[in-house]
């Protein structure tokens, strides 16, 4: 049921939900998370995502299977883009299906927390003449800890 893609192309959220549901009528809750390129200061030109082909897919699959073992999901989907993106562009999509909303929400948060700390992606921001690698956030490591009980 877990399905992951690492791709340069954009995705369509409605289409991804529809493919994942696939006409099923026993689903009660659909949660999506979309991460987008955020330009806080109004100076970001582009963001380039580098990744580790092979390991990226393996990590996303491992995390998805872990989520499906922890929660009664009826399906999950993870799409992560790489390459050069512009402010407002989609970066990542997580979709979870479950009978109940709490399982769908928790699994989507878990997927994002693990993806943020374990999926081998690195962001480089281009601002004016300057290109700089984005620093890892300690809060992402903290976010992981709540799943370790």
């Amino acid at each position: 049921m877990a399905s992951v893609s690492v791709q340069e192309d954009d995705f369509d959220i409605g289409e991804e939900i529809q493919k994942l549901r696939n006409g099923r009528t026993d689903v009660g809750a659909v949660v999506t998370f979309t991460g987008t390129v955020r330009d806080v200061g109004g100076t970001l030109q582009s963001m380039t995502l580098e990744h580790y082909p092979g390991m990226t897919e393996a990590e996303l699959e491992r995390i998805s299977l872990e989520a499906e073992q922890r929660w009664p999901l009826q399906g999950s989907r993870v799409i992560h883009r790489y390459g050069t993106l512009e402010p407002g562009d989609n970066i990542v999509l997580v979709v979870t299906l479950s009978k109940h909303r709490h399982a769908a929400f928790d699994a989507a948060m878990f997927l994002m927390d693990f993806l943020k700390s374990n999926a081998p992606f690195w962001k480089k921001e281009q601002t004016g003449e300057t290109a700089s690698w984005v620093d890892a956030r300690e809060t992402d490591e903290t976010a992981l800890k709540r799943w370790q009980d």
Partner: protein, 83 residues
């Protein structure tokens, strides 16, 4: 063994990957990082601060005390920032 570099570690080392034989006395990730630091000033500059250095062996995240053997694919990179 194949060593792959990513992000600013890749840029610092100046190459995407290199193929080296398992050096004498190297049996862990930590040994390997010590060995690479001796290869060039470029390697040393980006690898010496171990707190910023993450490693995957055969595409799995590992600690610095993890064993390495010849034939492994070892990837060296800073903390990830996807999502």
């Amino acid at each position: 063994m194949i060593i792959k570099y990513f992000s600013w570690i890749r840029e610092g080392v100046g190459k995407n990957e290199e193929d080296i034989g398992l050096p004498d006395g190297v049996s862990t990730v930590s040994n390997l990082l010590d060995h690479l630091c001796e290869k060039s000033a470029e390697h040393s500059r980006v690898l010496k601060e171990r707190v910023f250095v993450r490693v995957a062996v055969n595409q799995t995240h590992v600690d610095h005390d993890h064993p390495v053997t010849d034939g492994d694919e070892v990837a060296i990179f800073p903390p990830v920032t996807g999502g």
